[in-house]
């Protein structure tokens, strides 16, 4: 089948050696898919009948930021260097061959771009999503229109977006979420696709199709935003979940990515902690079995002072699955007192899996903290002894982790449809999975 390729997707902001093949990924999509599938948006009219727009929210934030830094000057050497380069002054060397101003440093391409972006302080231009522009364009095209979900100041709202894929089709939702100051907004996005009514339970391979979502979130001052994305598609589907967040002062954002199914999944999110004391917590849980592929890219830019981020991932890889998780915490100049943490725990249940974990901390500020850690491997010896002492053998212990990933998601599923999708997926992997969970609270 002819393939459409999204190249350099989910790129790390500061790439490492190309030969490691972890700087970015390539997403292959079947080219001949028709628009199809189904999108349901369950939200009260108060959230949908809105004049708010994502662009409008950014413009308003920009005004505040510009007013705040009206007369501030930045005379750092890197700024001089970036501006000299931009003006075509050609750097430090002069025409008479002398070295010129030795206090002006040479900048890498990355440093130059980052410095100019800092100086410009343009929120709209700096906006980014985790997978990148090409995926954004594809998903927006597939979605056809963008739906805006917005809260009023001080209000509370909840919405569920269901994207259900079909064989031979591509379906995506494009959502803008705008949380007004002091409001709370909770979004659940369910990306699901099953082979349909002619479901052959013995087959793990559904027909080809694409499901996705493109999400832009603006979290206003002191707002609370909670986003949970479930990916429960069958193995024949490609799932693309792309998002970008901008956080105003004191905003609190909680993101959960629960990726349990899908032959190929790409999850990307970028967050701009633009204003002081904003905080984002990202909790990612994934499972990959058979020959499935999981790709994650997280980019968190700390720009406001005393901002906090946590990227916590926990996954299980089985069969001959492959996974890459890139996490970049960028402590941008001016974010004094900020702290970013990324931690991943990966359980390798089979020897045939391929795991890549790429934590990156970029730092251009003092008085900040960037923490990273990863635990990759089999069940730890003290955990294994505990499990064995209760009659669970080492072989059963690793199967337990796979089962537990599904059960955990089923137990915490916010509604029956998502729970049913998880049970369907569980039944494909484990005999009698749904039957065993019968009676458990949803």
């Amino acid at each position: 089948m002819e393939q459409l390729k999204i190249k350099h997707a989910s790129a790390m902001p500061a790439p490492t050696w190309s030969w490691l093949r972890m700087n970015d990924t390539e997403i292959s999509l079947p080219a001949a898919l028709a628009r199809g599938g189904d999108i349901e948006i369950e939200a009260p009219d108060t959230l949908l009948d809105t004049a708010s727009t994502f662009e409008g929210a950014l413009a308003e934030l920009q005004e505040h930021l510009d007013a705040k830094r009206a007369n501030a000057t930045d005379d750092r050497a890197c700024v001089r260097a970036a501006q000299m380069d931009q003006e075509g002054a050609g750097g430090r060397e002069t025409s008479d061959g002398s070295l010129g101003d030795l206090d002006t440093p040479a900048l890498s391409r990355y440093q130059k771009r980052a410095t100019l972006e800092e100086v410009a302080g343009d929120v709209t231009r700096a906006f980014e999503t985790g997978i990148g522009m090409d995926a954004r364009s594809y998903l927006n095209f597939a979605a056809g229109e963008t739906v805006t979900i917005a809260t009023e100041a001080g209000s509370t709202g909840e919405a569920t977006i269901r994207v259900t894929g079909d064989a031979g089709t591509t379906v995506a939702a494009s959502i803008d979420a705008v949380a007004a100051p002091d409001s709370s907004l909770s979004l659940t996005i369910a990306l699901d696709a099953a082979p349909g009514s002619s479901d052959d339970a013995s087959s793990n391979q559904g027909p080809a199709g694409v499901i996705g979502s493109e999400l832009r979130v603006f979290a206003g001052a002191h707002s609370h935003v909670d986003v949970t994305v479930y990916v429960t598609a069958d193995a024949g589907f490609v799932a693309v979940d792309d998002s970008g967040y901008v956080l105003d002062e004191g905003a609190r954002v909680q993101v959960r990515h629960i990726v349990l199914g899908g032959g190929v999944t790409a999850t990307g999110m970028a967050a701009d902690l633009r204003s002081d004391t904003a905080r984002i917590d990202i909790d990612t849980r994934y499972l990959a079995s058979g020959s499935e592929r999981r790709d994650f890219n997280y980019v968190v830019r700390h720009r406001g002072k005393r901002t906090i981020s946590n990227i916590i991932a926990n996954g299980v890889l089985a069969g001959s699955s492959k996974k890459c998780l890139r996490g970049t915490i960028d402590l941008v100049h001016g974010c004094k007192g900020s702290e970013g943490t990324e931690r991943e725990t990966v359980l390798i249940a089979d020897e045939g899996v391929e795991n890549k974990t790429v934590p990156t901390i970029l730092c251009d500020e003092d008085d900040v903290a960037g923490n990273h850690g990863a635990t990759i491997g089999h069940v730890r010896p003290e955990q294994l002894f505990y499990l064995e002492s209760r009659g669970v053998s080492s072989e059963d212990a690793e199967a337990l982790f796979i089962r537990a990933k599904l059960e955990d998601a089923a137990l915490s599923a916010p509604d029956e449809r998502i729970r049913a999708a998880i049970l369907r997926l569980g039944n494909r992997l484990i005999d009698g999975f749904a039957e065993e969970l019968e009676g458990d609270a949803a």
Partner: protein, 259 residues
């Protein structure tokens, strides 16, 4: 003809990192009895419990561990568990990503008479939670993660009642617990004894947990050796006098042997 004990530890010598920590330990526990293993910190009490369970962190250098007539020495801990041995941990581990209910299902899977599915399992869990004053919502939480010390011990008791082992070794189950949590642990032990007529080996250095128990035998361990064995009256004596005299005697013996 004398009845053979349920657990018979004979001449057990064990080491960790090539350092011998248990020396020629003998211990017999007949079925249905409650035994107490006491001793000062670092005496080797927990080590003995872990060795009986088959903890691979320790090496069994000599001796035998017979359980229900079967030599346990070469069996993995899961097989010992399925043979009927249970060890309650002093510090139960945390297993992020595994809900307590998933773990409990795995522990009973394939056990004749204990395997339950769906609603039956859920109903049994609710009964046990009620008996232990435990919120059933804990079943949906990740195993041990964010649990207080008391909650972890309740989960240990829950498993004891669920698995109904022939022999339960409770390793310092009372340590670090407040009065309420101690009450729950005592109730758990009581329920276990009543419902299964089970056998208990309680490892402790504290006599409080033993107040409401009908103890058959007390073993005192010092420096990796069992130095005294007696009936329940020894508990009151230890409560009054501590372990000092046993430690002194052990030091004298060691000095004697060194000459």
């Amino acid at each position: 003809m004398p009845i053979s004990p349920l657990l018979s530890v004979d001449g057990l010598t064990a080491s960790v990192d090539e350092k011998t920590i248990l020396h020629d330990v003998n211990l017999n526990i007949p079925a249905g009895e409650t035994h107490v293993l006491m001793g000062p910190n670092g005496a080797g009490k927990s080590t003995l419990g872990h060795l009986i369970m088959g903890d691979p962190a320790y090496t069994q250098d000599a001796g035998t561990i017979l359980f229900d007539g079967q030599d346990m020495s070469d069996l993995s801990p899961d097989k010992r568990s399925r043979a009927g041995i249970f060890l309650s941990f002093q510090a139960p581990v945390e297993i992020p990503g595994v809900p307590l209910s998933s773990f409990l299902r795995a522990t009973i899977a394939g056990r004749p008479g204990l395997e339950m599915r769906g609603k039956e399992f859920r109903r049994r869990m609710k009964e046990l939670c009620a008996e232990l004053d435990m919120d059933p919502a804990y079943l949906n939480r990740e195993l041990g993660v964010g649990f207080s010390g008391g909650e972890k011990k309740k989960v240990e008791m829950l498993q004891l009642l669920l698995l109904q082992p022939k022999l339960a070794i409770l390793d310092e189950t009372d340590s670090g617990l407040d009065v309420d949590a101690l009450g729950v642990v005592s109730r758990g032990m009581d329920l276990y004894r009543k419902s299964t007529d089970g056998t208990l080996l309680i490892i402790t250095h504290n006599t409080r947990i033993l107040e409401h128990l009908d103890v058959d035998r007390v073993h005192v361990m010092v420096n990796g050796r069992v130095v005294r064995e007696d009936d329940a009256s020894l508990i009151d004596w230890i409560d009054e006098n501590g372990f000092e005299s046993f430690e002194r005697a052990a030091e004298n013996d060691a000095a004697e042997n060194a000459r």
